[in-house]
């Protein structure tokens, strides 16, 4: 199966800090990929390069064979790549319904706002001002807005960060159900390994801008380098 998104020889540095060093990745349809790594490992940089917020110093990113390098976030969104944010990016003074309607207006979608209200169980909050919502609902709205335009690829930046422990699985269930219904490929950055193990069918681990492991969740999460550099466990190798 041909990759819908691929990165070849991707490199990005900020002064002396290397955030992406020779990244080579390809993602197929039906993938639900967890991107893991410690802070500063390069996960969000990868997302930001794919969505056009950052331009790589070297390398190539293609989506359905088309290069994304040099395109603006707006142009990339129009190609079918959408994202949510670690800190939800909402229209604070508008209601939940109007947040979704703005997304609907921009995408030229029809009746998607109401569909997302239902799919993300946001109906009870429809007339609430976005700036006054609890964090879990803000996260859901952030993702719902990203899905309104019917993207082909959805990038989620820490969808459960800042959410109470007893809410995170409920939020991820809604997000993943909605994504499956939309038939969208999902890449999500996450620090919570329980979430990664439960929802991803592939895991990519980053460390200092490099990919140190890539494969099935059970395999990657057991890899010594991942346990040492990502999860932070003392391994026999490290102890020696």
């Amino acid at each position: 199966m041909s990759a819908i998104l691929s990165a070849e020889g991707l490199h990005k540095s900020f002064g002396a800090v290397t955030a992406a060093a020779d990244i080579n990745l390809a993602f197929d349809a039906n993938a639900v990929v967890g991107l893991i790594g410690a802070n500063g490992a390069g996960k969000t940089t990868f997302l930001n390069i794919v969505t056009g917020y950052l331009q790589p110093d070297r390398g190539r990113v293609t989506f359905h064979g088309r290069s994304l390098v040099g395109l603006t976030p707006r142009a990339i969104t129009r190609l079918g790549i959408s994202r949510s944010f670690q800190i939800p990016q909402l229209f604070q003074s508008l209601t939940v319904r109007d947040n979704l309607r703005v997304a609907e207006d921009i995408a030229g979608a029809v009746r998607q706002a109401d569909a997302m209200l239902e799919r993300f169980a946001l109906g009870p909050y429809a007339d609430h001002t976005a700036g006054l919502l609890p964090e879990g609902i803000r996260k859901l709205l952030d993702v719902a807005m990203a899905l309104v335009g019917k993207p082909k690829l959805l990038l989620l930046d820490e969808p459960t960060s800042g959410v109470a422990a007893d809410e995170k699985f409920g939020i991820m269930d809604l997000v993943m159900d909605a994504s499956r219904t939309a038939g969208v490929v999902v890449l999500f950055v996450e620090h919570d390994m329980d979430i990664v193990a439960r929802y991803a069918n592939r895991v990519v681990a980053f460390y200092e801008g490099r990919v140190i492991a890539d494969g099935e969740p059970a395999t990657v999460l057991r890899a010594p380098d991942v346990r040492r550099y990502v999860i932070g466990e003392e391994t026999a190798h490290a102890a020696a």
């Binding site: 707006r74 990016q89 003074s93 508008l94």
Partner: protein, 307 residues
């Protein structure tokens, strides 16, 4: 229903135009001329921008109307209104290409700078009347000769019609997806960009609309006063528009007209009864509004749908 109300208001405005004393007709004409400029400011404020330079387009509208007669020999008031509006819109379409890239204080100061450039140009240009400016005399309206003494009443009636159409169109715009996207830009440009819309394009179009509305206001004011001079572009004129916007609030398209009428009335009374300190009276009024009604006078009305 809405058409019945509109028709009743139009009939009332026309009756007022022909029965009210001349001084009141003049005051109300100036008020609606400034109100329509503030209508444009309201659109910019919905987009998260405050312009301290709408005097530029108010002045372009005034001079555009006046120069049509002065240089072109045209003495038709309707053509003057159109010429002033188009002149302002054309310059806004050019300057907007630059200004739509700026936000916050940079947008405010750049808009102020352009208005002061026009002021300096007018003051130094004898061909444009220099500091004295020049008079304009409209003899017809849409080809119909104006009877002596009726000019201001006709300008007022025409002004009411023009600004009513402008306000209705703006209401529809704000109530449309364009209005929602404008408000979204005010809240979060980054997200609008990531949803796939051009923030620049929306800001640019709103800026040109605001410029055109200010041009309409300027040409109407010039017809009512019968004279133009560089003061119409001075920064204090731009400040008046911001004053009126803050006074009324941005909650409804009717707010700018309500607050413009109050502003003109307040200024007339203050300059009559406290001629030395009339600006202080306005300052105190502004202080009271900011302290007690930060969302403007329109917020006294029951909270409802904006538009």
């Amino acid at each position: 229903m809405i058409w019945s109300v509109a028709a009743a208001l139009a009939a009332a405005a026309l009756a007022l135009a022909w029965t009210a004393p001349q001084w009141l007709v003049f005051l109300l004409t100036l008020a609606i001329a400034k109100g329509v400029v503030v209508l444009g400011l309201l659109l910019l404020m919905r987009t998260g921008l405050v312009s301290f330079g709408q005097g530029l387009y108010f002045g372009l509208g005034a001079y555009g109307a006046a120069l049509l007669g002065h240089w072109g020999g045209v003495a038709d008031a309707a053509l003057m209104l159109i010429a002033g509006t188009l002149a302002a819109a054309a310059i806004a379409a050019v300057l907007g290409l630059l200004l739509a890239r700026y936000r916050a204080i940079f947008f405010a100061m750049l808009s102020l700078a352009f208005s002061m450039i026009l002021y300096g140009t007018l003051v130094k240009s004898s061909a444009l009347g220099s500091t004295d400016g020049f008079n304009l005399h409209a003899k017809t309206f849409a080809g119909v000769a104006l009877a002596a003494g009726s000019e201001r009443r006709v300008f007022f009636a025409a002004g009411i019609l023009a600004v009513a159409i402008a306000a209705w169109l703006l209401y529809r715009l704000l109530d449309s997806h364009w209005g929602r996207i404008s408000a979204a830009i005010r809240d979060n440009e980054l997200r609008v960009d990531y949803l796939g819309a051009s923030v620049y394009q929306v800001v640019y179009v709103n800026y040109v609309i605001a410029g055109a509305l200010a041009g309409l206001g300027g040409s109407l004011a010039a017809l009512a006063v019968g004279h133009v001079d560089p003061d119409v572009t001075y920064w204090t004129t731009s400040g008046e528009f911001v004053f009126i916007a803050v006074l009324g609030g941005t909650g409804n398209v009717a707010a700018p007209f309500l607050s413009a009428i109050i502003f003109e009335g307040l200024r007339t009374l203050a300059s009559q009864y406290a001629p030395i300190v009339w600006q202080m009276s306005l300052g105190l009024a502004m202080l009271a509004i900011i302290m007690f009604l930060p969302a403007g006078l329109w917020s006294l009305r029951r909270p409802g749908r904006a538009g």
